[in-house]
Symmetry: C2
Subunit: 152 residues, 2 copies
């Protein structure tokens, strides 16, 4: 059975691949979304570096875009039209990654940012994402500040 | 006349395009290097986002790779063989960019990091890069910590 979340995930992947060429070059895909946790992935091969491990730029772009996608999904499920941009990003590379890249992003803001968005017309909040190895070790973690403006 | 720096820049671009597929997807090029300042560029079109401006992930990847390239060139001109990785990255997006992307990175470390590398076998130092608009306004600035290990 196709759920509302499955449809939103398919829509998100289509937006990425049609409107952000680099997401297609990275072969970025949505794995799952349950309303809170968004998981995305990309093959290692198009995202490799000179050391044969995941390219730092790909790890950043995949995580920044996962945070963007998380925000997009939260707006879409509430039928809110908003323009989402990233204002700042910070990333730490903890160990080289020699496997396909899986990104996890939980939506757990400290305040109700969607209510604030509807009241004030704009909101800014942090989102964290991480990439762990298949054996559960942290490879990379990212934190971005996202700014959303209500489209009316 | 082709200078030593021109040859090193050509070599750097070849390494990027052959060994880092995403650099080719972004159409990243070396513009110039004078021993201190490295300038790189990429067309906007393959690096566009849903807003028709430069994708945040591309802006990060181009700047992180320019810092990597700056480090590579400093090692090559001294004939030092080293493995370069980025340990952390921080980026601020100041305004949307609707034109081709030009990155500037100056090599001006506080200490002589190449001497430290040769003495200790490894060194870690920050590099800053920026993207300005054609009219000279700051679009984006990046700061990365690079770690280099001597290859012997």
């Amino acid at each position: 059975m196709t759920t509302k979340f499955d449809e939103l995930c398919q829509e998100l992947e289509t937006i990425w691949h049609q409107q952000i060429p680099l997401s297609a070059a990275m072969r970025m895909q949505v794995v799952s979304f349950d309303g809170v946790t968004l998981i995305t992935r990309a093959d290692l091969e198009p995202n490799i570096n000179v050391h044969g491990t995941a390219f730092a730029g790909s790890l950043y772009a995949l995580q920044a875009l996962t945070g963007w996608g998380q925000t997009h999904l939260q707006l879409r499920r509430q039928n809110i039209a908003g323009a989402i941009v990233i204002a700042t990003g910070k990333i730490e590379y903890k160990r080289p990654l020699s496997e396909n890249i899986v990104v996890t992003c939980r939506f757990e803001p400290a305040t109700d940012v969607l209510v604030e968005l509807e009241e004030k017309g704009r909101v800014r909040f942090p989102l964290a994402t991480q990439v762990t190895t298949e054996t559960g070790k942290l490879a990379c973690r990212f934190r971005g500040e996202y700014a959303v403006k209500l489209l009316v």
